[in-house]
Amino acid sequence: MAPGKQEQAEAPGWPEYFARQAEACRTPALKHFYETGLPGEQRPIEDIPLMALDFETTGLDPREHAIVSIGMVPFDLRVIRPSAGRYWVVKPPRPLREESIAFHRITHSEVEHAPPIAAILDEVLAELAGRLAVVHYRNIERPFLDAAVLATRGEPCLFPLIDTMALEARWERQGRLQGFKRLFGIEPSSIRLADSRGRYGLPHYSSHHAKVDAMATAELFQAQVARHFSPDTPVSELWI
């Protein structure tokens, strides 16, 4: 399977993977998702429809933990549209642990009445189709969605995405200056969502909620491009 390893090696690119999966997949929603395809690798980022994506989960390991809520907000470099976004609470296969309840402020009875992930996956995939996902910290949304699709549909679901945290690390964690700072024991700056936003003068949002975080991620990406990239940067320089 191409992606996963793709991040290091010169494996077949995302377009090839999408074309192959569009052929191979039997689940209609997945087939449609792959058929809708990807923007060309050289297309400028300003032309690309984007989708900020945020999951809240019961833990960090997709094999062990489950999705609790999903927030998505469509946007592009020009404008962010929260009202066109979506939000779902999902019932995980296993009951919620106390500590994760405290973190999400989503409670038992709320989850009790929520649909299982299987019931909404088609909708999630339909929303994502044709849009490039933007997340803050790549190791949650893609692996958890892949695990959920694999578990319920028996086929994998992988796609390129832009990780605002990885972008932030390019400036805040790499480079010679940062190396010097490390040498002198100066703490690297935090690249968590709220701290990263602070560096761009973005406001503080009070709630922890998948859709608020998706909106916050979209704003951060607009700010990162405004400060560090030209709007005609090829999309392949940004996705991973």
């Binding site: 989503i106 409670t107 709320e110 909620h209 859709k211 608020v212 909106m215 400060r227």
Partner: protein, 633 residues
């Protein structure tokens, strides 16, 4: 309503014209918002480009230009632009540029049109206004402000809520964690038909059943010796009085008074959005500078602080118009000035790192006396710990002083013409040196030298080791009263500026060219009055700095003939009020506020009072000459 819409709505709802909208309209506006980010220095809109939305500044700042490229307006958080273009022909006439990194909320044209059609005040605001200052000032002119302001303006945080099946102890813990004195009780709703049932952000139903306060915990649990494990439901009153978030502040106050309660849960339709306390209303009514101070501590750059100047002025005008006393206004403006300074010091310390040795920022003049008005220089100094070593430490403090002083200048407190600023080395010294200064001024009171140093005899700490300044205040209080020569010299200086009264109680007007036929009320009235009061205060060993407090000490010590301190107090209040009212008028007329009173424009009663106040000052100066005579005269 979804969480992200609530984030948007809660911000917009604090600023005009959105603060006056009914809840449904505000919801509609927030629900339709689109968002866009602009880096500092980039164009947001250019001339003749089509306009499709009203722009609301969520964070950052922009500048609006005229066709000729001239700066027309500078706008910040909570301001709107694009309304004129939307109302006219949907093309940009005034280009807009981001001067800080800026996040905009865009309200699409159709929603904007509906807001204008549905709400007359909104339409008036977008048609007439541009500046928030103007609207704030006009708003404050309406004396039924409490009727116009909606209660949700007073909400500062979401309500703390707990299920009523929880124990008293759990509630107490939650209240402690959140630092609140009340908590709302809930139980899961089951579709019952009640106006207490609401659906939360996650689509879950709840029934609002009551509220528990600190007092309940004291009376029903601790006093009764009941168990901390008592379920909340058993101590709940069961009856709960609430108010809708778009009701007026006035209505909220009446509801509390009618029901003899101090806390009122505020509902948006049926969802609890906050709890208003009686003290919130009192605070709102008496002193909205509290909000301003809060705002100061939220700002994260000097530029952002500087943009608060219109709000500082609006708050000043509002206090004057509401008939607050000069002491209240002076106190409020001083706390604004102090907060600004503290925030500037925080910025500087954040940049320069922690101070190498303890230090204190000291202020003089009006800020020390707590009688700051709207036009005022900065007078500050720095008292350093005695371990101060110029070679090792002074780079830090010089830079800190520079940043604070530059910041104050940017925020409308211009540099002190007399150089009383910590940026000047003589006024950036260790405590021991300051003690030497004061000892020397008191022991060898050369009148000429005192003229320049008397400003230091009003002194207070603003930031850092307050005890340094307290030690200086102690030293002055102890030494001055036992130094007749010093008091005499100070008294002689206090006679230098005479009130503008000629023979037969006519006004003597200034003829200095720029302010012909005016009276400089500060130079000819308030300042000499403060000089007189300072001499008496030091003479009785008072440690107070504020004029009115000094007069109380003087009166307590019996230093003046009976009734004199009352008269002085009345005259000081009146002179200060005339000055503040004059400055508020200047601000309303969009003029730079000054101290030049035109007696022609003063009402007959006020003119009479003014003459009387000057006469009191004149008499007080004569008495001073007699009470603290210069040797050999």
């Amino acid at each position: 309503m979804e969480a992200e819409i609530r984030e948007i709505r809660d911000h917009m709802g604090q600023y005009p014209p959105f603060d006056g909208l009914k809840d449904e309209l505000l919801d509609e506006a927030a629900g339709a918002v689109e968002i866009a980010y602009f880096k500092a220095g980039t164009a947001i809109s250019e001339r003749d480009q089509p306009v499709e939305a009203l722009s609301y500044i969520r964070s950052g700042a922009v500048e609006v230009y005229l066709h000729n490229g001239q700066l027309y307006n500078r706008l910040g958080e909570g301001d709107i632009f694009g309304q004129f273009d939307l109302l006219r022909d949907r093309q940009v006439r005034f280009p807009v540029q981001a001067i800080e990194d800026t996040l905009l909320y865009l309200i699409p044209k159709p929603v904007f049109d509906r807001l204008c059609a549905a709400d007359g005040n909104f339409a008036d605001f977008v048609e007439l206004s541009g500046s928030r200052l103007k609207s704030t000032v006009e708003q404050s002119l309406r004396d039924n402000d409490m009727i116009a302001t909606r209660v949700r303006r007073l909400i500062s945080r979401l309500p703390v809520m707990i299920e009523e099946s929880a124990t008293v102890q759990e509630a107490a813990r939650l209240m402690t964690e959140n630092d609140v004195s009340s908590v709302l009780l809930l139980k899961p709703g089951n579709d019952e038909d009640s106006d207490r049932v609401f659906t939360d952000g996650e689509g879950r139903q709840w029934l609002l059943t009551g509220m528990i306060t600190d007092k309940d915990l004291r009376q029903r649990i601790i006093a009764e010796g009941a168990s901390a494990q008592t379920p909340l439901a058993t101590i709940s009153h069961g009856k709960l009085i609430t108010i809708q978030s778009d009701e007026s502040v006035n209505e909220a106050m009446l509801t509390m008074l009618r029901n003899n309660i101090q806390r009122l849960p505020v509902l948006h339709r049926r969802r609890p959005v906050g709890v208003v306390h009686l003290s919130d209303i009192v605070r709102y009514e008496t002193n909205n500078s509290v909000y301003l101070v809060n705002n100061i501590f939220n700002r994260t750059s000097v530029k952002a602080l500087a943009r608060l100047t219109p709000e500082v002025r609006a708050s000043f005008v509002r206090l004057v118009d509401e008939g607050a006393s000069s002491q209240m206004i002076g106190g409020a403006m001083s706390s604004v000035g102090r907060s600004l300074m503290r925030r500037l010091v925080e910025f500087a310390e954040a940049e320069l790192g922690p101070p190498p040795i303890p230090y204190c920022i000291m202020v003089h003049g009006s800020l020390a006396r707590n009688d700051q008005s709207i036009t005022t220089d900065q007078d500050n100094a720095m008292v350093l710990h005695d371990s101060f070593d110029p070679k090792r430490h002074d780079d830090y403090f010089r830079e800190l002083a520079r940043q604070v002083s530059d910041g104050l200048d940017a925020c409308g407190y211009p540099y002190c013409k007399g150089g009383v600023m910590a940026t000047n080395e003589p006024w950036r010294q260790p405590l021991a040196q300051w003690k030497r200064y004061f000892s020397d001024w008191i022991a060898r009171p050369d009148p000429q030298r005192l003229l320049h140093s008397s400003i230091f005899f009003d002194l207070d700490a603003v930031h850092g080791e307050e005890r340094f300044v307290e030690e200086l205040q102690d030293l002055i209080a102890a030494r001055a009263q036992n130094s007749p020569l010093f008091l005499a010299a100070l008294a002689r200086n206090a006679l230098g500026r005479t009130p503008p009264l000629g023979l037969f109680r006519t006004f003597v007007l200034e003829q200095d060219g720029r302010h012909n036929n005016t009276i400089n009320i500060k130079r000819r009235g308030i300042a000499p009055m403060n000089d007189v009061i300072r001499v008496h205060a030091l003479g009785v060993g008072s440690r107070a700095q504020n004029g009115f407090e000094r007069l109380e000490d003087i009166s307590g010590a019996g230093a003046l003939p009976a009734g004199q301190t009352d008269k002085l107090s009345y005259a000081l209040e009146f002179l200060s009020m005339v000055r503040m009212r004059h400055q508020a008028e200047d601000i309303k007329k969009d003029q730079e506020p000054d101290n030049a009173i035109e007696p022609e424009l003063v009402s007959d009663t006020d003119r009479h009072n003014l003459k009387e106040a000057f006469q009191i000052l004149s008499n007080a100066q004569k008495f001073l000459r007699f009470r603290y005579p210069s040797p050999g005269r």
